[in-house]
Symmetry: C2
Subunit: 330 residues, 2 copies
DNA sequence: CTGTTAGCGCATTCAT
DNA sequence: ATGAATGCGCTAACAG
């Protein structure tokens, strides 16, 4: 910057102020601004965000914790976050992934903090202890997509699992199904239990049968169909199945196919959440789709508010929007 | 750090040196080191990487450009990169995504540079002009997964498209197929043309027929089956198809199904690249699997070497490893 | 509109 | 073993 200042015949401050856009309020002429800018361009000068961050005592970064780098859902969430941040011109996402692994999670969070993120937006599960430490450091923390069980007063922008699951169940009831099971993974899906509650409510309101064994819970990352086998080989088996994710629903299709049960004639199948693969001709999985991008944007906005006023109470927003796409499995 | 130094009764320098591990060579006793460390822990002190970066004039970050956040391939690549970097303890990935969009790409690269990454590892396509600018700035650039066409002397760790495609073609020939088509997207797959060359070579070596119209090129992000329709409704249609990606292969399955052609009886189908969904019972797509994680690790290593010695000539490594998984489509 | 001054939080000589 | 001094590249307060 000193070189540019010299060449342009102005003070370093002037260059600094022009290059970071705050020159208007300092009454610097558009002419000199233009001159300095083109000089900087010609010297292919790139301001050091590191030095800026240190001086401003703000990094201009927001940490984003994704479940991994291979989820359509995560991609939508982050698209929402980015487009919102991009509009604000002020914060940029630093991305980490938890990979469903506690050690990774801890290291990644540590990294984010060391790099000075001003807030953390988290699409993954996170240990209550880690969350507490972050909040104690004064770094705003926002859950996105779901609220964390066990951390009641955390900020979030989440899909309303209860209402969405209830809507899904009602949808199947409307299609004449009577014995509706719920398939989910408590370990993997933090919203699982509230979704089940919604399912249950809808069932009770419609005076449909609700059997505890029709809540099928698969352990983390497992595609073993043991429980499904038991449920679907019983004399009075369910005639419909709601799954907490398209992944689980895909496993269910395999199980059902293997048992010779036809979808949707014998068992109607509806997933909470959608992905491109669900549209495939051989799958055609019906799904309740989540406005993930919108939710991502909301989370970013919450983070920005919390950064602007750290003393603020947690901000919690629930989104009940959804749309049901009937493909071939319902 | 000043507070810690005061409480511990030592100089600020001492604290600094202890906290960043370089205290041994300064002859500081393990005892004081321990004391300072536990004091820091108790005060929940986190060193500012921003300040460190500024002072050391090294950010300790490597930029990684992913095609997006929803690809099994990208996830494996980055896993490889991370595990290698993690071993080295010295560099941490800052992740960006190109999203197949030129404007995004340019902005993301600018961001990485401003944040001071010491090298860029890129799994996506990148405009030659952007690449040139980065290299001119002195930032090492490594392609991973494929080499960039049009940028001959760039560093890379890539899958050997020619040999892999040749192997795939030979595999199909070995299964008795005679008329083998090649499906790919030139716009999306940077390795597409060398893969086609490999395919072609294998065909010629085996003295099999090679028709230009059996090279089916679909435009970017398109799943429209126009060209496939034409090829497969001809009197003498191919009896096998190699696809440059599992995504395209999935589209092919749909097209084939729609035309009443059975897979693999009428048409055998083999994809270059694998993903979890390919294992699904209703898909069972045969695939040639890429050692993506290994390639990611190699790319990281190249980046590290280039950082250590910037005057070094480009490092280019080709990996010909693969394994063919015969599922139900071959 | 310009220039001077004083840091931001650390790492790194160099002298002790 | 220690500590004072200097600087990384930039921003910001303030006096011109």
């Amino acid at each position: 910057m000193a070189m540019i200042a010299e060449k342009a015949g102005v003070a370093r401050t002037t260059v600094s102020v022009i290059l970071n856009g705050r020159y208007r309020e300092r009454g610097i002429s558009e002419k000199t601004a233009q001159r300095v800018r083109s000089l900087a361009e010609a010297m292919s000068f790139v301001p050091s965000e590191t030095a800026r961050s240190l001086s401003r005592r703000r990094s201009g970064m927001i940490g984003v914790i994704l479940p991994g780098f291979n989820s359509a859902w995560g991609e939508s969430i982050i698209t929402g976050i980015r487009s919102r941040l991009h509009k604000m011109q002020t914060h940029v996402p630093l991305i980490a992934a938890a990979h469903d692994d506690d050690d990774w999670e801890e290291r990644e969070i540590k990294l984010l903090i060391e790099r000075g993120v001003e807030a953390i937006v988290c699409c993954a599960t996170v240990r209550a202890e880690n969350h507490r430490r972050i909040v104690e450091r004064g770094v705003p923390f926002v859950f996105v997509g779901h609220r964390a069980k066990g951390i009641p007063d955390a900020s979030y922008a989440a899909w309303d699992g209860t209402r969405v699951a209830a809507a899904a169940t009602r949808h199947l009831i409307g299609k004449g199904r009577r014995r509706i099971a719920f398939l989910g993974s408590a370990a993997t899906n933090p919203a699982g239990s509230e979704q089940y509650q919604g399912h249950r409510q809808a069932l009770m309101e419609a005076k449909r049968e609700l059997r505890p064994e029709w809540r099928i819970d698969v352990p983390r990352n497992s595609d073993d169909g043991g429980m499904m086998r038991a449920v679907f080989s019983a004399a009075e088996r369910p005639d419909a199945l709601i799954s907490d994710s398209w992944q689980q629903a895909l496993h269910a299709i395999e199980e059902l196919d293997a048992r010779g049960l036809s979808v949707p004639e014998d068992v109607s199948l509806l997933a909470l959440g959608d992905a491109p693969i669900c549209r495939h001709g051989r799958i055609q999985l019906s799904a309740v789709v989540e406005p993930a991008e919108q939710i991502g944007g909301m989370a970013a906005e919450i983070a920005l508010k919390l950064i602007a006023d750290p003393s603020r109470r947690p901000i919690q927003q629930l989104v009940a929007d959804y749309s049901i796409i009937d493909r071939a499995t319902t």
